[in-house]
Subunit: 223 residues, 2 copies
């Protein structure tokens, strides 16, 4: 009974997303409106709109009278997402290198060094912080509100690419140093290489998988 100034649609939206992250609905699984309505103790209306919003965000695919399905993130889809991230995060770090004030950068470096000591990897967080600091709301929204949802969804299932933890850590460190030196070109180049390397890991995984799984499931039409 706490403040529910947020509309039910938003609550349900978050709820369904949590279900996806938790894996309660399998990756290619169907999304039944009535069951969700029952589960969240609301009518089907808010559920429909929430599903529509999820669809607009690319997490759920759906065509007119067919059941809605959770997007099944194939490795091929992930490669495409990483290609997109390579370009966008490159631009993000370029902009952030110019836009972020010294204090914010210093704090980020300090936190990162701290996490290093504790062996806790901040991982995604560095990317998020850079996206937040780039000063471009559109880019930030794309990275933080859309692509990272898909990333989380993928990682919650497949587990991220192994053997890249330590490499990624070193690469993050390099990027932060370039930002501190206000070298936007270098920072962008490093970020792109950083993500490109992860993409290559995925690509190898895709090639090794062979043509076993062929799931297009990319790009949805709604108009």
């Amino acid at each position: 009974m706490e403040r529910q100034s947020k509309t039910l649609v938003d609550t349900v939206f978050q709820g369904i997303f949590d279900l996806l992250i938790a894996g309660e609905i399998p990756l290619g699984g169907v999304v039944n409106e009535a069951l969700l309505a029952e589960r969240f103790k609301v009518s089907r209306g808010p559920v429909r709109e929430a599903v529509k919003a999820l669809q607009g965000r690319g997490l759920i695919t759906k065509e007119p009278y067919l059941k809605a399905r959770v997007v099944d993130l194939s490795v091929a889809d992930m490669v495409q997402i990483f290609q997109l991230r390579e370009s966008v995060e490159g631009m993000a770090v370029r902009l952030a290198t110019r836009a972020m004030p010294d204090e914010a950068l210093d704090q980020l470096l300090a936190e990162f060094a701290d996490a290093d000591r504790k062996q806790k990897r901040p991982a995604l967080d560095v990317h998020v912080r850079i996206a937040e600091g780039c000063g471009n709301g559109r880019i930030q929204s794309l990275l933080c509100d859309e692509l990272y949802y898909l990333l989380r969804l993928y990682r919650a299932r497949s587990g991220d690419t192994p053997g890249r933890r330590d490499d990624a850590f070193a690469e993050h460190w390099q990027i932060l140093r370039a930002m501190k030196a206000r070298d936007a070109d270098l920072a962008e180049s490093l970020m792109r290489s950083h993500i490109a390397r992860a993409t290559e890991s995925l690509q190898e995984l895709l090639d090794s998988e062979g043509g076993a799984e062929a799931s297009p499931a990319s790009g949805q039409k709604s108009a």
Copy 2:
């Protein structure tokens, strides 16, 4: 009366979008569900979902119990969109340079040369064709289904930046030549410069405008 296998929501979605393009709803104007429902001869339900989808696509902003408003695309917003396009279209042309078959490239070049003779500028179309040819559905969807909608919306009002027609034409030509030569690095570099130049025009416009208009309106939360 014709085949309306498409759901009403999709029809209304397209209808509202057309209204925005046509300028029947001014850029910061309110979007009244009941009026739209009346206009399209449907109930408010489909309108609500369509508006929600538009919101998910960033064309309409809305918070819980407040009126929905058409996003008012300030020049500052456009600069942000162009920065995003610079990175993504750069990647798109890089991928397309590798992915597009010779025949498709030749045809594109031929069409372009033809348009040159007729003085009809294909303009946006070149970007669309490259996006379609990049082989990455996610990037194609972002460029063609999201950003170009906003571009069209902006150009339908403000008219695009003057004095760049001829320059843009020459730059498109250069890009196509680089693609034909299968020089992905050059093609990406040219595309980025191409868009960056347009961004600079916008930036100058923004600076000359001064702080007259301050409309943030970028980035919407829905969860």
